[in-house]
Symmetry: C2
Subunit: 344 residues, 2 copies
């Protein structure tokens, strides 16, 4: 008989056999159904425990048509921007009884595409921060309800919760100009600058400067890795190639903080010699010295909005309307708010 060495998993039938009841009765015991003799239940539960039985979540999932798992794709948990978004996503997902599986990409193209495949197979919906067009298109066309977290100005082929980056940068320039600055540099995110097929991003800086009638020299725009260290590196380059600048606008707060600290370490006074504006409004920005002027965005709301939007998609997925992208839900735009602190 098939009693010995099998590495097979313990099933409900095994427990049933061991307890001398039908599989159905085991199911009743496991699921706390009322219609069962207390003694039988005890016996079954004991057997199950002894045998190390655990119900298969797949088998259960098949039969009860319920659980939703949201795939949440972010670049990096260590950048404090993402935890705040994640908090919003978790809250909104939890409110719907959804589970949230988190994946990180480190903004690497290959990894993004890998994660895209994974999510398509294993999630029921997806909220993603993604740079690679192919990865985005892949998910969008898979039919998976999908919302992109974006801060590009260029349009993408998927429903998006969008941060209004361009208008944020304009606010930053307006603020700096009002403080008397005319020679403003920008430190942008390398991963983002180097991704994407079209070039909207790299011209933004020039455009905005032009709007304010400001000069722009080559070397006034530097790319940085998305971290404090990356910001410091970029600042070092800036101090060398463009010592004439008096203010720096950064892609985000992490980079801005790195840049500011580096300037400070090099003996520059902030904001007297050099002013710094960040982007994101991280809690962290209040704790550094001087506290960072920043374009704050409601990251928690960003996460919530994204979940709401996928939820809408799922509700609206009535039989035939497939295709992924051409969904009725309009993009949500999250606006920035200038928070002036000590660094300007």
């Amino acid at each position: 008989m098939a009693t010995t060495n099998r590495p097979r998993r313990v099933t409900i039938d095994d427990v049933a056999r061991a307890a001398g009841v039908s599989r159905q009765t085991v199911s009743r015991a496991i699921n706390d159904k009322p219609e069962i003799d207390p003694a039988t239940r005890q016996r079954i539960l004991a057997a199950a425990q002894r045998m190390g039985y655990r119900p298969s979540r797949f088998a259960r999932g098949m039969v009860r048509q319920s659980t939703t798992t949201l795939g949440l794709v972010i670049a990096d948990v260590l950048n404090p921007f993402f935890p705040e978004v994640v908090a919003g996503v978790l809250e909104a997902a939890d409110a719907r009884g959804w589970h949230v599986a988190v994946y990180t990409t480190a903004s690497r193209i290959a990894r993004e595409q890998e994660v895209a495949e994974t999510v398509i197979d294993h999630a029921d919906a997806c909220v993603a921060f993604l740079l690679d067009d192919a990865a985005i298109a892949r998910i969008a066309s898979s039919g998976l309800p999908f919302v992109l977290l974006g801060n590009e100005d260029r349009p993408v082929q998927a429903p998006t919760v969008r941060i209004d980056f361009g208008s944020g940068i304009r606010q930053a320039f307006a603020h700096l100009v009002s403080r008397g600055h005319r020679r403003i540099a920008m430190i942008d995110d390398r991963a983002r600058a180097e991704s994407g097929t079209n070039d909207v991003r790299s011209t933004l800086f020039t455009e905005v400067a032009a709007e304010f009638d400001l000069p722009v020299e080559p070397g006034w725009r530097q790319l940085a890795d998305n971290s404090v260290a990356g910001g410091a590196d970029a600042m070092e380059r800036l101090l060398t190639t463009a010592p004439e600048i008096t203010a720096v606008v950064s892609y985000n707060d992490m980079i801005a903080i790195g840049a500011m600290r580096h300037a400070l370490a090099r003996g520059h006074a902030v904001p007297a010699d050099l002013a710094f504006v960040g982007f994101d409004g991280l809690a962290l920005g209040e704790l550094v010295d001087p506290p960072l002027t920043t374009l704050a965005i409601d990251k928690h709301r960003l996460g919530r909005a994204a979940v709401e939007q996928v939820a809408d998609q799922m509700a609206g997925t009535t039989g035939g309307s497939a295709g992924g992208s051409a969904n009725g839900t309009p993009d949500t735009v999250i606006r920035t708010e200038l928070v002036v602190r000590g660094s300007t």
Copy 2:
């Protein structure tokens, strides 16, 4: 015929019917199997896309005995301690091809128990930061491979990756004493202090002070919410009830930073009038002014170690050895390293 209004999901059979092939052929098309006519595949894929067909991950999971989902339970994504642990967990999980579902508890008892049930039902393994004994026991006895993330000195009934909190606090005191401090206060975490059945935690402070032959007055130990604001509140109380103290040891860096900033705001000089020691070694601690002296722990390694330990459990789960807790794997202990910076 059953063609009209049913809210049922689109199945492989629906696609098969629509494309005029067998369900197996649809499966071949969807899964990119080689043995299929390119034309047929195109036709099927088109139909699938049009109908919005998405394979059921449950049905797939049933038949291919593979995917592992790790349930990761943490208190709060917004406390920078956790993202660093999460990064380690994600890395180690990804290396094994596991998925990671994240749940937060806000350290609320009721929520912890709720999450425990969820995880038992929906994960194949669990790494959890949990305070409530009942929640811990529930998971441990469910048979789910389980590792607890802990910093208690008291033993718990589950395999644990443990932070050596007690010895960390001793290092802090030793350091402060060597700097000439004799009147040292402690700000502890409220949620943790108020959880747990036995009282090891509340006596630690007194014990350590005694070891160093230091006085302890009532009011020298304050409880704080686990945040910067919580630390500030506790510091306010400390300044009122115990103005004689010259140093403060905190449960973690967030609280320490809050406390330090509040002292600064109240006009005290740091470290001249008041010294501060944190616990965790957050990146954040280097960015504040003055930079925070702290007991650093390798949080990334903590996360990795936890995953390795559950993985061991899963490998060792041979048929009969159930029960949950009495597993062979010894607890891992993560030691602290004193990082001296400007706050002392």
